[in-house]
């Protein structure tokens, strides 16, 4: 079961260039940290972002924490690589590191 969820997640992050695991949708985030993550991706002019609402699926909600070895939501993946949570996204956006990563994946 748990292994299957990890396979699902692995497929999501490898088949989609930018994946944001978050609470709620991009239109209606259900958590301030997820809302900030969406805003940062918009500010980076990210295209083709796949968002996964972990509140819709308890297996994904737990599975993504195990998969990334990271206890919090949101979590950003770009080209299959775990980038971090909303604090790391904020720091990388402010330092200008995030924009080229997003541009290269959009």
């Amino acid at each position: 079961m748990s292994q299957n969820i990890h396979d699902v997640i692995r497929q999501q992050v490898t088949e989609n260039p930018i994946v944001l695991y978050m609470k709620g949708s991009a239109q209606f985030p259900q958590c301030g940290f997820s809302a900030r993550a969406v805003q940062i991706l918009k500010a980076c002019e990210a295209k083709s972002v796949m968002t996964v609402d972990v509140l819709q699926d308890p297996a994904i909600r737990q599975g993504i924490k195990e998969f990334s070895n990271w206890p919090t939501i949101p979590q950003l993946y770009i080209k299959g690589e775990f980038i971090g949570g909303s604090d790391i996204m904020t720091e990388m956006f402010q330092s200008g590191e995030l924009q080229p990563l997003v541009a290269a994946a959009s």
Partner: protein, 87 residues
């Protein structure tokens, strides 16, 4: 021992030069995530243990020390991690 004291005590193994914890829980009263009673915190920590580590590794070092408190005692933790001299 309250939660803030517990967090400070756990982080002493990192021998932080600065360990500043803000309890933001009051600002989140009433929202769905706060219903479980877990607190919202912002932690700024400066430690030589972060030298040469990237952001993900630094956050994991902190999370590892607090793992069993999350997500029920600590619902949300905003993290700023610095090596000495970075701020």
């Amino acid at each position: 021992m309250d939660v803030a004291q517990e967090i400070h005590q756990r982080l002493t193994v990192l021998q932080p030069e600065l360990c500043d914890l803000d309890d933001d829980s009051a600002a989140h009263q009433g929202h769905a995530g706060a219903a479980g009673g877990g607190g919202h915190y912002t932690l700024t920590i400066v430690s030589a243990a972060f030298v040469g580590k990237n952001r993900i590794a630094r956050h994991r070092q902190v999370y590892d020390l607090l793992q069993d408190l999350m997500p029920h005692t600590i619902h949300a933790l905003a993290l700023k991690t610095y090596a000495p001299g970075e701020i």
